[in-house]
């Protein structure tokens, strides 16, 4: 009798803990989604009324060095580079860093750009490893290619090589499989130009390029892929960028200027010493380090996230690749949180410490344990007869429906400001939102679990997943 009571109490306590965790998280998402909805609308109005023509003509508009690190990107580099060359921006240079590709990346670059080695000396402020040669394009004078002779410093080392050569005051880092929109740079730089003294970093929304019809770096048909694994990633990106990051940005608590497209003020990167080569992945860590630096230097600087679609990147198109990508994301998340643990709930770091970091710790890092424990608890409770079928189903419905509501809110925020998707695709996203918990969510949870285990094992490789070749 006593034992039964203890079991009952224990079960009830465990239930309350998991349930509170879930309710807090859901409310947190809900509030962020609402802030994201308002903030996205505001940013869209700002963009609609902006006078881009005068920015394009002004001699004060800041120049940008675009760095594209490339490792085995033969299927993507040409379109990526052509899309960059199509940019509608007054002054920029492009630095492609071939990070010891073993495929035809460098050959494609050579054929396309007509490369010629140049003898150039430049300061090596950032850790970039060995550089074989620097090549200048004869076809496009604004393009330089750095060919690295020793890999091992991951993407960070390649970006650092580009940073060493970059000459303009802003740095835009782009993934080699990204197709950038022609107005991407001017749209983001317009915000920076409003207050260049204070905005030191900026990112913006980008989605999946899988399925888009692309010719010579231009999107000729926005035919987004209906393949569920890709559509779910689009949904996830919308949730992450529009629902979370835009909202965090309002409070200067944005944790990640994504590597796919991110702009930084060069002097900040200089002070930070560039990208760190010691982490699995570089973008989250750099953003955390930038927050740390800004607070320690007592600067009133901001890192912003905008809701405009600036580009489209190649996403994993099968479960194996998706797990590989998310496993890496999980490792870097754990590494970064562990490295910057002193920021959590530290009043010096303001909203970043109280709004963003607890979420990262409780959801992104520890969430995987809570998820596994809660599943174990529910199954055990059900098997032992403590949790009846009615209770089980009601909890399951709660989990499904709360996620559906949040997803749909983010989709609505996105659609209010961008009419990129066809009605059929929108209906597809709505339908997928309802069944996410039944399979896609599990893939992500398993990836996180593997990532966490590998983190404890000390794995640090970048781990590039296999991508499907793009059809043009």
């Amino acid at each position: 009798m006593t034992s039964a009571l203890t079991n009952d109490n224990l079960n009830q306590t465990a239930f309350l803990v998991f349930f509170s965790y879930f309710v807090i998280l859901t409310l947190y998402y809900f509030i962020l989604a609402m802030i994201g909805l308002i903030e996205t609308r505001k940013r869209t109005h700002e963009s609609e009324d902006e006078k881009y023509s005068s920015l394009l003509l002004s001699s004060f508009t800041a120049s940008v060095s675009i760095i594209i690190p490339a490792h085995n990107e033969e299927g993507w580099i040409r379109d990526c580079l052509l899309s960059v060359l199509n940019l509608n921006y007054p002054k920029f240079e492009v630095i492609v860093v071939d990070d010891c590709s073993t495929d035809a990346t460098l050959k494609i670059l050579g054929d396309m750009l007509k490369l010629k080695p140049i003898n150039i000396s430049y300061p090596k402020h950032y850790k970039d490893g060995m550089v074989r040669e620097v090549l200048q394009s004869e076809n496009y004078s604004l393009v330089t290619v750095i060919s690295k002779s020793a890999a091992g410093l991951k993407k960070a080392g390649a970006v650092n090589a580009g940073l060493n050569l970059a000459k303009y005051e802003y740095i835009c880092v782009l993934d080699a499989d990204t197709i950038i929109e022609p107005d991407a740079l001017i749209k983001v730089m317009a915000h920076i130009e409003k207050d260049p003294g204070h905005i030191v970093g900026a990112g913006s929304y980008f989605g999946m390029s899988n399925g888009l019809k692309i010719k010579d770096g231009r999107i000729i048909e926005r035919s987004f892929s209906y393949k569920p694994i890709l559509a779910y990633q689009n949904l996830e990106y919308i949730r992450s960028f529009i629902g979370n990051r835009v909202a965090w940005s309002k409070f200067n608590a944005m944790p990640n200027v994504a590597g796919g497209f991110g702009i930084w003020r060069r002097d900040l990167l200089y002070d930070l010493g560039g990208y760190s080569t010691e982490f699995t992945c570089e973008d989250v860590e750099l953003t955390f380090r930038a927050h740390d630096y800004i607070v320690k230097k007592n600067e009133k600087q901001k890192i912003i996230m905008l809701p405009y679609y600036v580009g489209w990147t190649e996403g994993p198109s099968n479960i194996r690749s998706l797990i590989s990508q998310r496993e890496r994301w999980q490792r870097v998340m754990n590494e970064t949180i562990w490295r910057y643990k002193y920021m959590i709930l530290n009043p010096k770091f303001g909203p970043f410490a109280f709004l963003t970091l607890p979420y990262f710790l409780l959801y992104e890092v520890l969430g995987v344990f809570v998820e596994v424990a809660s599943i174990a608890f529910v199954v055990a409770g059900w098997l032992k007869g403590v949790l009846d079928l009615r209770a089980f189903l009601s909890i399951l419905a709660l989990m499904i429906l709360s996620q559906v509501v949040i997803s749909l809110l983010c989709v609505f925020s996105f659609l209010r400001n961008n009419l990129l998707f066809s009605l059929k695709y929108v209906a597809n996203l709505v339908a997928l939102s309802w069944v996410e918990l039944f399979w896609y969510r599990w893939i992500i949870s398993i990836s996180k679990l593997i990532g966490t285990i590998n983190y404890f094992k000390g794995r640090k490789e970048y781990g590039q997943y296999v991508r499907e070749k793009r059809t043009t």
Binding site: H45, D195, A391, L401, W434
Partner: protein, 356 residues
């Protein structure tokens, strides 16, 4: 598990289910509505385009009777669409002018001024603010000036953009006051002032250059250097004796871009300045102004104590290596080791440049 918990969760489930269903339906309907709204917006613009095109081709003067069929009921948003070509329908300059004349009825102007002053709807207010910039009514600057001091950042920003559209002396003086009072980013304000006609700016630029605040004088010089006009040499020269190093550096830069060779003497004196940054800036400016003819002058700094000045001298020598050659020979035959090293590096740099 306690029935109470289960019942509560079921109640929450029902609420969430209703919310999710409503949102699903809302998203689908919203997409349909938005697509049809965009179609209507496009059709309306095409209609305006057709009428304005016919009006321009007919050569008729704009009058109420001529404009009535298409300009009646046009919203400020549509007006801005036409003036800025921000939509898919393109309007040329004369079509924009004709449409502006049709839109600028006394009733519309009164409405716009009222909206720009008092509207609680921020984005409607901003549309009115932008429209006032394009229409340049007698009250535009006054209203925009007031809005430029608003507590709302967006209203402030778009009022500033709108003032930049007007490009009058009055608008320039308001923008300059905003710089002086640090109301908005100096960088943005200066980039807007850059688009003003030089004859307007010349009347107001002194206001910036003579300000007590170093920052303001600096913005003034940055603006001057972009104008690249010899008429401002005297104004920039005055600041060569400014107490602030930064201002003196900017003044050198400004003189370099002035295209006025009379400024060379001033820059030569700056090469003797106590501050290294001023000397380095004077070297660069002299090179900009005189080209290869600057070599005899800048070579005097080959034994400077500052590495930055030496780097500036070396860069100029690399660019004009032929003119520098006779001096390099002399220096290489001398005893100054540092100067010899700079010369050798300049020769190497020039060779690399040739390879490139």
């Amino acid at each position: 598990m306690n029935n109470y918990f289960t019942n509560t969760i079921i109640q929450v489930d029902v609420i969430l289910l209703i919310a999710a269903l409503l949102l699903s339906v809302l998203i689908i309907f919203y997409t349909i509505l938005k697509k049809s709204f965009l179609y209507k917006r496009n059709t309306a613009l095409l209609n305006i385009k057709k009428n304005v095109y016919e009006l321009v081709m007919s050569g008729l003067k704009t009058s109420k009777a001529v404009c009535m069929p298409f300009a009646d009921g046009v919203t400020p948003k549509q007006f801005i669409d036409v003036e800025t070509n921000r939509d898919t329908v393109f309007f040329n300059k004369s079509e924009q002018e004709a449409f502006k004349a049709c839109f600028a009825t006394p009733e519309n102007l009164a409405d716009l001024e009222k909206t720009a002053r008092y509207s609680w709807n921020k984005w409607r207010r901003i549309e009115a603010i932008l429209s006032l910039g394009y229409l340049n009514t007698p009250n535009s600057v006054k209203i925009l000036k007031k809005n430029a001091l608003s507590l709302d950042n967006d209203i402030r920003y778009f009022s500033i953009l709108s003032l930049g559209q007007i490009k009058s002396g009055h608008a320039a003086s308001v923008l300059i006051d905003l710089i002086k009072n640090n109301i908005f980013s100096g960088h943005k304000l200066i980039s807007i002032l850059e688009t003003f006609p030089p004859e307007i700016l010349s009347a107001y630029i002194d206001n910036l250059l003579s300000d007590k605040k170093t920052e303001v004088r600096l913005w003034g010089l940055r603006l001057l250097s972009r104008l690249r006009d010899p008429q401002y040499t005297a104004q920039a020269s005055k600041l060569m004796k400014d107490p602030s190093n930064e201002v003196r550096v900017a003044a050198c830069e400004c003189l370099g871009f002035s295209k006025n060779k009379d400024a060379a003497d001033e820059l030569c004196s700056a090469m003797k300045n106590d501050t290294w940054s001023v000397r380095a800036s004077a070297v660069k400016a002299l090179s900009e102004l005189l080209g290869k003819d600057c070599i005899p002058k800048i070579i005097e700094l080959i034994s400077d104590s500052s590495l930055s000045v030496l780097a500036a001298v070396k860069a100029v020598m690399i660019n004009h290596i032929d003119a520098a050659e006779p001096y390099i020979e002399k220096i290489l035959a001398g005893d100054d080791e540092m100067a010899k090293r700079i010369c050798r590096e300049a020769i190497e740099g020039a060779e690399k440049g040739k390879t490139k």
